[in-house]
């Protein structure tokens, strides 16, 4: 991994709510998918995903921005999943006991460590942007430019480090608002569509 002290991880560690919110939104569905892959129980997977993310937030002091914050999150979800599989093995009726055991084995297997280490924060943002509709992509990319390294930007823009940090905060705010605006617009559009279809 590159040694970029990751701004987003650093901000979360410092207790910045917006940054965590962004991370939550970007990662929530991925974690649900990850847990559900082993548990085959979407509701339980959602609970575990939420618990894991909130656990990370509550204990954010353990985040090391130099290390892989995503791998940390997935390790939390992984341990929670193993324990769920062990304690709830009888009430998960969608999968057989043999499959539960195989999935406990898979979750504990060493190969998962290597897979988790490939998870990358930059990749999370990049790939989410790729999958976003055009109208929101622009503002996301904007923020991503700020989301690289504090020092890098400061050097490139000939700005002070605190100035860059200030910008970072603003850009995250803009991003959040833009996202909301877009979604309200999007939902309004759907309602309009439904309305016309009815008449």
């Amino acid at each position: 991994m590159k040694k970029n002290p990751n701004i987003l991880a650093e901000k979360i560690k410092m207790g910045d709510v917006e940054s965590f919110e962004l991370f939550f939104k970007l990662e929530f569905d991925n974690i649900v998918y990850f847990v559900n892959g082993y548990l085959h129980d979407p509701d339980l997977a959602k609970d575990i995903a939420q618990e894991s993310l909130l656990a990370l937030w509550e204990k954010r002091e353990i985040i090391d921005p130099e290390k892989n914050i995503r791998a940390l999150l997935y390790t939390i979800a992984r341990n929670k999943s193993i324990n769920e599989l062990k304690t709830r093995s009888s009430s998960l009726n969608s999968i057989s006991l043999n499959e539960i055991n195989a999935n406990i084995y898979a979750l504990s297997d060493d190969s998962l460590n290597a897979e988790l280490e490939t998870l990358d924060l930059k990749d999370l943002i990049d790939r989410t942007i790729e999958n976003l509709p055009d109208s929101v992509r622009g503002s996301f990319i904007m923020s991503r430019r700020f989301g690289m390294t504090n020092k890098e930007i400061a050097k490139a823009k000939n700005m002070s480090l605190t100035g860059v940090e200030y910008h970072m905060k603003i850009s995250l705010n803009i991003l959040r608002k833009k996202l909301k605006e877009y979604l309200i617009f999007f939902l309004g559009w759907i309602l309009l569509f439904l309305y016309y279809n009815q008449t």
Partner: protein, 328 residues
């Protein structure tokens, strides 16, 4: 059974019957199980969706914002004295660990030299026959005075990684606390024989090796990439040929690794690794297992990860740690 078939099961492209049969089959076939685990993990990570749903994006989660701001202020005032005390306490501890580092002591004990490694540290030494030995925390190695070309006998209590110089004419013999000895010529292996563990564990990486039960002179031959576990109570031996040797020697590279490890073992490993004393309040803790990989994390970081992933909370006082189930 080929990879493509396993992938079809993982992707769910099969009938429920096929699925059931497959999992029944792999439950008794360890190699197949490993292949399944590897492919399953790879598949899941490779297919993460990366497209948050509208519901997720709209969800308005503000984790206790106001409360946190107020609490931080109160906490700041309340914790200044605590912080000062902590700084004092930490600097005191730092001093004591510094002196720990010097204690790979070699002192002459009647018949030879004892190399002792305290908890919290590790050490490496080279013997006169140029065999190399890495000692894990809380171990000691006794080397007799006349150790040399014709006498290669040592005594180990604890865990060590041995890289033994080959000498066909003079076997290298290691005795351990529970009357089991190991005879080798030239090999590399990891041996864990702590007196307070329930079993002895040997992982062979290279060459060949013989385990000898001193009571009845029974010999167990071990081959490369095999792991033998001998239970001290029942004296039963278990052999595993499908182990991941990386796990057994992770400590030597400075990594602390847990792979679905029972809490009893987690506790003991942490005690030795960090030089701490752990008290377990609630026996329910022992029902848990823990999986994680640490490189240079501090004891607090490890305990925090344990807490958020298993609800086992902790309290640290000096080098004493108390574990209890958090009432959540």
């Amino acid at each position: 059974m080929d990879q493509e078939y396993i992938l079809r099961i993982i992707k769910g492209e099969c009938s429920p019957d096929e699925r059931e049969k497959f999992f029944e089959q792999i439950s008794s076939d360890k190699i197949l199980m490993q292949e399944y685990a590897r492919l399953k993990n790879k598949h899941i990570i490779a297919t993460l969706p990366y497209s948050p749903s509208v519901k997720t994006l709209l969800s308005n989660r503000k984790p206790k914002r106001q409360l946190i701001h107020v609490l931080t202020k109160i906490a700041a005032v309340l914790f200044i004295p605590l912080f000062l005390w902590l700084v004092y306490d930490l600097s005191y501890q730092r001093k004591s660990t510094d002196s720990n580092f010097k204690t790979i002591t070699s002192y002459v004990a009647g018949t030879g030299v004892r190399y002792k490694v305290n908890t919290g540290i590790k050490a490496m030494l080279t013997l006169p026959d140029s065999s190399k030995i890495w000692l894990n925390s809380g171990s000691y190695l006794d080397v007799p005075k006349d150790f040399g070309k014709n006498n290669r006998k040592v005594y180990l209590s604890g865990e060590g990684y041995f890289d033994i110089e080959s000498d066909k004419t003079s076997p290298f013999i290691i005795s351990t606390p529970k009357s089991i000895s190991i005879r080798v010529t030239g090999t590399e292996f990891n041996l864990s024989c702590y007196e307070n563990d329930n079993n002895m564990k040997l992982t062979l990486l290279k060459g060949s090796l013989e385990l000898i039960r001193e009571k009845n002179n029974e010999i167990i031959t071990v081959k490369p990439y095999e792991e033998v576990i001998i239970n001290y109570q029942t004296l039963e031996s278990k052999r595993d040929t499908t182990i991941d040797t990386k796990y057994a020697i992770a400590w030597k590279e400075g990594n602390l690794r847990f792979v679905d490890t029972p809490m009893t073992e987690v506790v003991r490993k942490m005690e030795r690794w960090f030089g701490i004393q752990v008290t377990v309040d609630d026996p329910a803790i022992y029902k848990h297992t823990f999986t994680a990989d640490f490189e240079s994390e501090s004891v607090t970081q490890v305990l925090n990860l344990l807490e958020i992933s298993t609800n086992i909370s902790h309290e640290i006082k000096g080098n004493r740690v108390r574990l209890s189930m958090s009432s959540k």
